[in-house]
Symmetry: C2
Subunit: 138 residues, 2 copies
């Protein structure tokens, strides 16, 4: 199990290895995202934390930053049956519980869910990814 500092360090290293510049805003956002290890955030969540910390990062930057971290494999984005995009600090292949009442995501490790039969992929297309969401109620 990694400590939160290790998660942050690792993510900052990925940022350095990416073509993205290491700006103050990106470092602050990465610290917020990875301060609790694997976690899920909406843009709103991140922006709220920024305000609470007294940091001054515009909403546009939060969007830009999260999108670019996603494009560069530092976080992952997840769409759910509510209308917001969630950003996931767990970039390994995995699936999700989604609780409709509380609008929260919970990771399902790959090894804990198994598909034993898949349909034939339509002609001319190729498999990109399989997303499984197990919807929960309270």
């Amino acid at each position: 199990m990694m400590t939160s500092n290790e998660y942050i360090k690792k993510a900052l290293q990925s940022l350095k290895n990416s073509p993205l510049k290491t700006t103050k805003q990106r470092v602050d956002i990465i610290k917020i995202l990875f301060s609790e290890g694997n976690n899920h955030f909406t843009v709103e969540d991140v922006h709220n934390k920024i305000e609470k910390l007294g940091l001054n990062i515009s909403l546009a930057t939060v969007y830009n930053c999260l999108n670019q971290l996603t494009e560069n494999g530092i976080v992952k984005s997840v769409k759910t049956s509510c209308n917001k995009i969630y950003f996931d600090t767990n970039t390994t292949s995995h699936h999700h519980f989604f609780c409709k009442n509380s609008s929260t995501l919970i990771d399902i490790e790959s090894k804990n869910i198994k598909i034993s039969k898949l349909p034939k992929i339509p002609n001319g297309k190729k498999l990109d990814s399989i997303e499984i969401v197990v919807n929960l109620t309270e």
Copy 2:
């Protein structure tokens, strides 16, 4: 295999059996939705067909109608990794291919996909539904 008229008749009967009133607009929209059997529509798709047919149904009504048909089990709604809600005339339990390039949905029959292992449902929650989306590229 049902004919399109049979699909329409069946849906209109479900409308009659529901607490919803049988209005001209709802009948027109059901005819559009079910005229090709199982199919997927965005609100925009439906509204375009309405315009093309020279019908006069406001966008608000299309939204209201599709939402209420969904609430009453006459259609199903599907969220995809693009940001639109799709309405699905197939109300049986099934899954989807989603082609990211063309933004199209294709049904996967329940029997053609099988989950052989499921994680433990978190305490205090209960299983609502499992949504599997097999994302495709061209």
